[in-house]
């Protein structure tokens, strides 16, 4: 019983106690809750961080390996291109050497061929000489012709003058102007005068007028032309008495030349003659008398004849190809051949084979 009373006494106390304790616990709940949360979160955080660190390390490893792989691949590619460039440079240098030699040869032989130019200039000098000589001859001929024509026209003028002044010829009684008694021989004009035929008045009048042709003088004259010198009437010929025709007419008719028509004038055999003529002309203009027979070579099996130019031993002179450059084959013996191939790089043989069996590449 005592315990029950104690307990009953404690009940109130318990109530209060529990209430106090609840209250305290309630008061501290928040705090403790928060603290517990904090601890738990911190711990979780640590755990996660540890996990992340772990992940990070793994990721770094993967990346490290991968970057190493990439870098090595890139390096290999760089080496390959560098090798390629080196090879190409070498080839280019060698090609330039070949081109240099070829261009020097080509230019000296074909473009600025010194010997051809020299020959050309020598030929040109000779041509010039020939041209100069011919032109001089031509000039000499021309000047001689000119002199001749000048001389001839001078002579003609003097003769014409002599004919006009024939009255100045000397006679027995009076010595003419050109026949001076104080000189041994008469002047050359005197001789001309002696040999000249006197000029008739009609001939002296028919001299060329400068404006001839521009004015029509042969037009039917006006009945009132300018007064002209009166001609003497012509001496009439004695006409025959009787019903006779004019003798000139008769003679014209009597001695009229034959004017055959075209039909009469052509010969009977003119067609045959014309044919002969044509044949002769054609025969003369032909080069080859044989008739051309089509397809006549089909049955003849003839050997093919080579061109003279290249085949016979008197063919064209090998200018420049054989002796333009000297060849000494003896000097070339013993020399090593020209290296055409560049040395290989062994690294590339092993490309793709250095890795695991999974990384097998061709």
């Amino acid at each position: 019983m005592a315990t029950m009373v104690k307990l009953q006494r404690k009940i109130n106390g318990i109530k209060e106690e529990s209430f106090n304790r609840n209250r305290v616990a309630e008061e501290n709940r928040r705090k403790e809750h928060k603290a517990a949360l904090l601890i738990q979160s911190w711990f979780r955080g640590c755990r996660v961080r540890a996990y992340l660190r772990h992940l990070q390390r793994k990721a770094t490893t993967i990346q490290k390996i991968w970057r190493g792989y990439l870098g090595r691949m890139y390096f290999r590619r760089m080496v390959k291109t560098a090798y390629f460039i080196m090879k190409m440079n070498f080839y280019n240098v060698m090609a330039v050497r070949i081109q240099k030699r070829w261009r020097a040869y080509y230019v000296r032989k074909y473009v600025h061929n010194y010997y051809a130019l020299k020959q050309y200039l020598e030929g040109l000098t000779m041509t010039n000489e020939i041209v100069r000589r011919e032109l001089e001859e031509f000039a000499v001929i021309k000047s001689r012709e000119q002199e001749k024509t000048a001389l001839e026209s001078g002579e003609r003028k003097k003769d014409y003058l002599a004919r006009k002044m024939h009255y100045l010829v000397s006679t027995e009684q009076i010595a003419g102007v050109f026949n001076s008694p104080y000189k041994l021989f008469p002047d050359e004009m005197e001789f001309r005068l002696r040999g000249a035929k006197p000029l008739s008045p009609k001939a002296s009048r028919s001299r060329k007028n400068g404006t001839e042709g521009i004015v029509e003088t042969s037009a039917p004259r006006t009945p009132f032309a300018l007064p002209q010198i009166e001609h003497l009437p012509p001496i009439p010929k004695k006409k025959q008495q009787g019903p006779f025709r004019d003798p000139t007419e008769v003679l014209l008719q009597r001695y009229k030349p034959l004017e055959p028509t075209l039909r009469v004038a052509t010969s009977i055999t003119s067609v045959e003659e014309a044919r002969e003529e044509l044949k002769r002309k054609e025969w003369g203009s032909q080069v080859n008398d044989e008739l051309f027979h089509h397809f006549s070579n089909a049955n003849k099996s003839r050997r093919h004849e080579l061109m003279l130019h290249t085949s016979s031993k008197f063919g064209h002179v090998d200018y420049g190809t054989k002796h333009f450059r000297e060849e000494n084959p003896e000097k070339l013996k013993g020399k090593k051949d020209f290296k055409r191939v560049f040395t290989t790089v062994q690294v590339f043989d092993k490309f793709g084979k250095m890795y695991s069996s999974a990384g097998k590449a061709v």
């Binding site: 032109l135 521009i214 004015v215 037009a219």
Partner: protein, 508 residues
């Protein structure tokens, strides 16, 4: 009055008219009468006589008018103003051949003075009438018509185009084939006047087939005809490469070279002009002419002629040498340079000297060989003196300077450069010294000669700004010699030596 007396009045009048017109025609042949005639009012008197009943009076009046118009352009203008031209053009179509000749003569006399008068002639419709007259039978009428057309076309391109549009060219080409020499001459001269203005006109003339006929007449004995033929061919070929090639394809070379020895001066000049116009265009054409021996013929021609007629030959050599160095070498080998040197010293006229200087420059500018060939002919001092003379024209000075510079830049022939060293002005001296500085470092004999001839002394006397190109050259020359010699030849050396004497302590 009886009928007979009436008719006698008319007879007298006709006689008076005839004698008047014939006397006027004769008086107008003498130039001193024409002033008086003009003052007496002869134009207004002649004009109604053109319409006279009697054909002889008409023709003589036209002849007189033509002679008056021929004399000077005032009278020609008076004819134009007096409205005489339409009447003439009308009767050109209608009347007989004598009147046609006279009318064509008047038209030609009017048109020859100036482009305006020729335009006035064209405006009257003369071209159609003249072209119709070209189809006549009488060669005199054709000649007069062709002459008038030629004078019209001579002035400028538009008038030539008008003549071509009237359809004159095929008829002119037909005229060239006629047997009369005078007609051929005039037709060739008309074609030459038409084709000289522009390439299109020349092409029209060529399309009518003129070249073949012109080239057939090259060896005709008549000198005046040859003048016109060559003039026509050169006017055609001067415009373009194609035209020049067509002229060359007519196979005129080498026959044309014989005409370079013709006695007539103007034939030779026109042949040289033709060759020059052909060589001007391309190296291939020049090569053709060189291969035919043309260069030698032209050089002989230059040697034989004097004065203005030499000019086309000189220019031809310049054009040939300008194309390439092989052609320039061909000119040198044909002995062109001595001939050009003679021209340069002989000729009095400036424009010929300028052309010679230009040609020499073209020859010598290619390589040292060429420059040496030119320098050996003693041309450089002459070019220098031409450049320096104040009385040379500006054109001559410019050309002489250019030629001198271009030759000097390639010249390595030192004996020819020495005289230039003493006389040249600074801008030329620069080049001369430059050439010395290029040659002297490599040639010991030349160095010795340079010293003994006084060149080194002259070099030291040259004043130039430090840092200029000339100074650079002078330094490089001085570096070829030991220092004592350079100091010996420097100006004022004797003074410095004497100063040393002043300061010297005698050794007892």
């Amino acid at each position: 009055m009886s009928q007979r007396q009436l008719l006698q009045v008319f007879e007298q009048y006709q006689r008076a008219r005839t004698s008047f017109v014939q006397t006027i025609a004769e008086l107008s042949t003498r130039p001193q009468n024409i002033e008086t005639l003009q003052n007496a009012g002869v134009m207004s008197l002649l004009r109604p006589l053109l319409l006279d009943v009697v054909p002889t009076i008409q023709q003589t009046a036209a002849l007189a008018l033509g002679r008056l118009a021929n004399y000077n352009d005032n009278l020609a203008e008076a004819i134009v103003k007096g409205d005489i031209l339409p009447q003439l053009v009308y009767s050109l179509a209608e009347q007989n051949r004598f009147y046609k000749k006279a009318a064509a003569f008047v038209l030609r006399a009017v048109a020859k003075h100036s482009p305006e008068l020729a335009q006035a002639v064209v405006d009257c419709g003369a071209l159609d009438a003249l072209v119709i007259s070209l189809e006549e039978f009488d060669p005199g009428v054709k000649e007069a018509a062709a002459w008038a057309l030629g004078y019209i076309a001579r002035h400028n391109g538009e008038l030539s185009q008008a003549v071509v549009d009237a359809g004159a060219i095929p008829l002119l080409v037909l005229c060239i084939q006629e047997p009369e020499v005078a007609l051929k001459r005039i037709a060739a001269s008309a074609l030459s006047d038409i084709s000289k203005h522009s390439p299109e006109l020349a092409q029209t003339v060529v399309d009518a087939g003129a070249i073949a006929h012109l080239s057939q007449m090259i060896l005709n004995p008549d000198a005046k005809l040859k003048r016109q033929v060559f003039s026509a061919l050169s006017q055609i070929s001067k415009h373009s490469v194609d035209l020049a090639e067509m002229v060359v394809e007519a196979e005129i070379f080498p026959a044309v070279l014989t005409c370079l020895k013709d006695p007539d001066e103007y034939v030779k000049k026109n042949v040289a002009t033709l060759i020059r116009e052909i060589t001007k265009h391309t190296p291939e054409l020049s090569q053709l002419i060189v291969n035919a021996g043309g260069v030698a013929a032209v050089i002989d021609y230059i040697g034989d002629s004097r004065g203005n007629v030499r000019l086309p030959g000189i220019m031809m050599l310049g054009y040939v040498a300008a194309h390439s160095e092989n052609l320039a070498m061909a000119v040198i080998v044909s002995k062109g340079v001595p001939q050009l040197a003679i021209c340069l010293s002989e000729e009095p006229e400036d424009h010929i000297k300028a052309a010679t200087a230009w040609s020499l420059g073209q020859i010598g500018r290619h390589t040292p060989e060429h420059a040496r060939a030119v320098a050996v002919a003693n041309v450089l001092p002459r070019l220098l003196s031409l450049y320096m003379e104040s009385e040379s024209s500006e054109d001559l000075q410019v050309k002489a300077k250019k030629a001198l510079k271009s030759i000097l830049q390639k010249c390595t022939y030192l004996p020819a450069l020495e005289p230039l060293l003493h006389e040249a002005p600074p801008n030329i001296l620069k080049h001369v010294v430059g050439q010395f500085s290029k040659v002297l470092p490599h040639d010991s004999k030349a160095r010795r000669l340079f010293v003994t001839s006084g060149g080194l002394r002259k070099i030291q006397e040259i004043k130039s700004e430090p840092g200029s190109v000339l100074q650079g050259y002078i330094n490089s020359i001085n570096n070829c010699y030991p220092e004592e010699i350079v100091r010996y030849y420097s100006p004022g050396y004797s003074d410095t030596l004497l100063e040393r004497v002043d300061h010297y302590q005698p050794v007892m």
